[in-house]
Amino acid sequence: MTSNTARRSLVAAGPGELRRRAVDRVMTGLVWGAGSTGSAVLLLILGHIAWHGLPALNLAFFTQRPLPYGEPGGGVAPAILGTLTMLAVAAAISIPLGLGTAIYLSEFSHGSFGRIVRFTTDLLGGLPSIVIGVFIWALLVRHVVGRYSGLAGAVALAIIMLPIITRTVEEILKLVPDSLREASLALGVPRWRTILGVVLPTARAGVITGVVLSLARAGGETAPLLLTALGNQFFNLNLFGPTASLPVQIYNYAVAPYDDWHTKAWGSALVLVLVIGCLSLITRLATRRNRS
């Protein structure tokens, strides 16, 4: 009998019970809504980019320089070239620095100095990129070099890439099993050769992932390049002169009042999103497989 009453109170809902269930339903609905918001917004933005950007893409878009308003045709080749050059120089600066720091952190650091390095790297990674832009602008553009230059842009990008490379590579190096290091050391191989010949090659995929991730990040940066490399309508391989880049080109095209330039801005955006999206997708899939 008692168990029956208990049973009834669970099954047949009183007014309070109905309210609880209603609240639960509503909240479930809201949570589902919130969960789908991110994906919906992503699809919306990507859809707009593809819709407006596809008509802009043709051969001239990738091979010619931007033309003044009114002349039909023209493309963003100098911007693509400039982005690639600056990324290459930035990689040449940040990869040795980042790799060395990561090796120090994972192989040599014990104690407080390692913690300080890690902490500073995180702070550097959290700096707004415009602050890094202003730093390079004040230092190189206004003082040392004295003008807007691709070199200044590359240095700014290198500072942006550095913390990403350092922290990714450090995490990967830590995943290399100690037994590998011990086996190599037991064979009489000195420590530095163990690190360069055994530890790094084992972590090769992860190291490449870190570098690609940082390139994808730096490739989309606009504000620091606007302040340092400024932009250029012509082909320019001189690192000491103003250099075009894809993101800055998008900005210049977008804020201009011409429809043709707007289409080109969408086209450049499509190219940028495709490249960066693919790079990030590949690295994400790679790291995901490593973890599991």
Binding site: I116, W192, I250
Partner: protein, 327 residues
């Protein structure tokens, strides 16, 4: 050593140890180099900003006159814009991001978790300039034509709160800046909150469910209270990103120093967008110095927010992804 001597053989010089020492010194030098960059950024920005710091003192942050011709610089317009856009962004993004994190951590069927996490986090990969372009071409006109008139007609009619949505709908204003920022910080807050929710022990959930709680009651009384500190940290990480965001905001906020009316529907500046708009005009040394000081203030605020939020999140999950920078 002793053993070698006794056996009569001279100890062979160990080549490896010399290389080891050099290698360790080299990597340490590189590590010191990484630290030196942050030091150089702070010291040099301070040095370049010093003329403005000494000349204007605290009035730099409290006055609104930004007049290069008469060399009077007060950045209150910019700090106000940064503060308000970031607040709007947090208010809009926080409920959605926490909801999405709850969805992934508690509600979603297993097969849906990865895709939802993944696509939401892809929002963080899209460069700032793309948001700027989209905001400039699509969101701005949409805000002017549809959303802002709607808000003026509803919330704008209420007493007090209505002040936020008064004045003409221009589309390129502080509110639009806040909306675009909200989209950009959504993935940051969502990913961090999700990790915090995952760190909530299952015993908490089971205990609540065993008491007969509905799923929402379980979330409301067991998961959310446990995760509170981490959620505040997640919001802080989003805030740190919003503070420094440049291009997207620059393209939608209207960039004008109109009077501070309290309405969100007025064009404005943020610290970052002011820098991006004015650096080419800095012809006088004191103008240059004032712009560097804006960057220095931005650096200090963003770093402080970043640090505090990391401390909050660290208690729940081991570490925070390095990628929380605003662009």
């Amino acid at each position: 050593m002793q053993i070698y001597r006794l056996s009569g053989r001279r100890p062979r010089k160990r080549i490896g140890s010399l290389g080891d020492r050099q290698f360790e010194v080299a990597t340490t030098a590189l590590a010191v180099g990484s630290i030196a960059i942050l030091g150089a950024i702070i010291v040099l920005l301070l040095a370049y900003a010093w003329p403005a710091v000494t000349r204007y003192g605290l009035s730099f942050l409290t006055t609104t006159t930004w007049d290069p011709v008469f060399e009077r610089f007060g950045a209150a317009h910019f700090t106000y814009g940064t503060l308000v856009t970031s607040t709007v962004a947090l208010c809009l993004a926080m409920p959605v991001a926490v909801g999405a994190a709850l969805f992934v951590a508690e509600y979603a069927p297993a097969w849906l978790r990865e895709p939802v996490s993944f696509t939401t986090e892809l929002l963080a990969v899209i460069p700032s300039i793309i948001y700027g372009l989209w905001g400039f071409m699509v969101l701005g006109p949409l805000m002017r034509g549809t959303i802002e008139p709607l808000l003026k007609g509803t919330i704008g009619q209420l007493p007090l709160v209505g002040l936020l949505f008064s004045g003409p709908a221009v589309g390129r204003d502080i509110f639009t800046g806040g909306v675009i920022l909200a989209i950009m910080i959504l993935p940051t807050i969502m990913a961090t909150s999700r990790e915090v929710f995952r760190a909530v022990p299952d015993t908490q959930r089971e205990g609540m469910l065993a008491l007969g709680a509905t799923k929402w009651e379980m979330v409301r009384h067991a998961v959310l209270p446990y995760a509170r500190g981490g959620l505040i940290g997640a919001a802080g990480l989003g805030l740190a990103r919003a503070l420094g965001e440049t291009m997207a905001v620059t393209m939608v906020i209207g960039n004008s120093s109109s009077a501070i009316t309290g309405s969100l529907l007025t064009p404005g500046y943020t610290m970052a967008s002011a820098i991006a708009n004015q650096f080419t005009e800095a012809d006088k040394p004191i103008y240059f110095s004032a712009i560097v000081e804006v960057a220095l203030v931005l650096l200090l605020v963003a770093t402080l927010v970043n640090l505090l939020s990391r401390l909050l999140v660290w208690r729940y999950v081991g570490s925070v992804g390095a990628d929380v920078r605003g662009g």
